[in-house]
Symmetry: C2
Subunit: 322 residues, 2 copies
């Protein structure tokens, strides 16, 4: 299976590593909007300019699109779905139906598969929400994120005047987690579910009180949370906060008569982009296989049987993993 | 969707409750080998003799077969798969390939679907093993069971001379769980993973020392474990140990380069048969839908896309659960 990567940031590097770890895949190359001579890949994979994609149609079985959900993916995924089997990690939950429709139309026209919103949330967490609701209808699901780095929140802090660098951790509130795990089905406000911890490097002489105030009152990002701000040096940030760990839990409580059942799926990830990249690559396998069977159009993880993402044969899966 | 239940023990009752909780299903009735007049159902569902099944072919969309894996299911599932869409919870892991082949042949001949080995292990735990291995190839999975009642082990104790009643709990060893959750990938012996706790009621004047010795040295069941035996009264057993709770965890550790990722799926179930019944009923929905699409043959949870087990439409799943 020949795989191409479009876009080469943290996620693209995660996809590159995962393709190289998959024995049934070959990496055709990375396609970038930058000048290829300026891009160095982790595994030495070749780099092409994005404009070269048009000439590679026959050489790529699946194109993994590693772009941002705000502006890149809504445009790129439908565009390339007409000519390639594609997969993306579109994660703006509210706009998924619209994105699905756009990719579906393009992919069907080209007779290709377009898998959207693949990763861990949306992705593995979505699977677990749907499995749980299907098995025990009428229950309640909770999703907790963290402890982990939110790149969106870190970026928001970096845009404040006087801030040089920042890392923001999303942290689930232990008491909330405990109540949910105990099957108590609590009603939780945004503030009661997560706290936010910020590590911030500022310019010399910057007004720390003003910056702290601006962070804590920032609408959408911080205003609804209990937020802690720590001012540290760039050296401390580089040394203690250089990774992109993340994770979280989907916890579901349902009942059968008088009996209560709690289902929990949790992830503890050293690297968010590496894991997301690994999920994309597993589902890239499914995109290719489905298309080989003559299927086309947009799909999500909910539409794909687990055996399609495994390199192991059905016989072997039944014998050793069932 | 019209559902029939074949076999009416604890699992049959769990299936009955789940069918009644599903808004898109109707329970045709329970089919039993016993005299129907002696069987009382939980929800008042009608009871028929198993021989009446032959005349109900057109009235049942899916037949849920609730029998034992040792002798019932290897015979019953292939037999009924020729005439009905069927589903079972066959859980003798080593014999799954053979059972699959038998059900596949029968179901294909009749143009029906036969889903085998559905429940939580095999079932939901299998799904999680396959998802994890597919996303992070080359890692290691661990399955822990309990704390929960093992009906097989309880039965084994009851067969000892002088024993009136018994309840056996399988308990994961906390230190083993902790090491696995920490991503340490320990090599664990059977003894290091689980302990066994037995609550035993004996006849008056029975030789407790002999019974304890017989339990602790019983091959396959107890000899490889650290086993604790508590002798209690029938009243205590009925009062403190009447439920059938169970659960456990599938924990997977995989890496991407220098980064480690831990995936955990865990269940805490007040009633093992209720939950297993709920999983069967969700997949009964998939059996019916797949057959409506013209698909036939044997399937397992690994072959079925999550959206097939949900009563919710694809549009709604994408808008609210993805």
């Amino acid at each position: 299976m020949k795989v191409g990567i479009l876009g080469y940031g943290n996620l693209g590097r995660g996809v590159e590593k995962a393709v190289c770890a998959a024995e049934d895949m070959e990496l055709v190359g990375v396609f970038s909007r930058r000048d290829p001579s300026t891009v160095k890949t982790v595994t030495g994979a070749p780099v092409f300019h994005v404009d070269d994609l048009a000439s590679k149609k026959g050489d790529i079985d699946v194109l993994v699109i590693c772009g941002g959900s705000a502006t890149d993916l809504p445009e790129m995924t439908p565009k390339y779905a007409a000519d390639f089997n594609v997969i993306d990690s579109f994660d703006t939950h509210a706009r998924i139906p619209e994105h699905f429709a756009n990719v579906d139309a393009a992919a069907k026209k080209g007779g290709k598969i377009g898998i959207i919103s693949c990763g861990w949330d949306p992705g593995m967490f979505s699977l677990n929400r749907v499995y749980a609701h299907s098995v025990l209808p009428g229950g309640k699901d909770y999703t907790f994120w963290g402890k982990g780095v939110s790149q969106g929140h870190s970026d928001a802090i970096r845009r404040i005047e006087g801030v040089v660098d920042a890392r923001q951790y999303t942290v689930p509130v232990p008491a909330a987690l405990e109540a949910v795990r105990a099957g108590k089905n609590p009603e939780l406000t945004t503030r009661e579910k997560h706290t936010r911890e910020c590590y911030v490097v500022v310019e010399e002489g910057a007004d720390k009180a003003r910056i702290e105030q601006e962070i804590k009152t920032m609408p959408n990002y911080f205003a609804d949370y209990d937020t802690t701000v720590h001012f540290i040096s760039q050296e401390e940030l580089d040394c203690d906060h250089k990774g992109l760990p993340h994770g979280g839990s989907v916890i579901y409580t349902g009942t059968t008569g008088e009996n209560t059942h709690v289902i929990e799926y949790s992830l503890k990830l050293d690297s968010n982009p590496d894991f997301t990249g690994s999920v994309l690559v597993a589902y890239a396998r499914a995109a290719y296989r489905l298309n080989q069977e003559g299927v086309s159009g947009a799909k999500t993880v909910l539409d794909i049987a687990p055996s399609y993402i495994s390199p192991i044969s059905g016989d072997e899966l039944r014998a050793h993993y069932l």
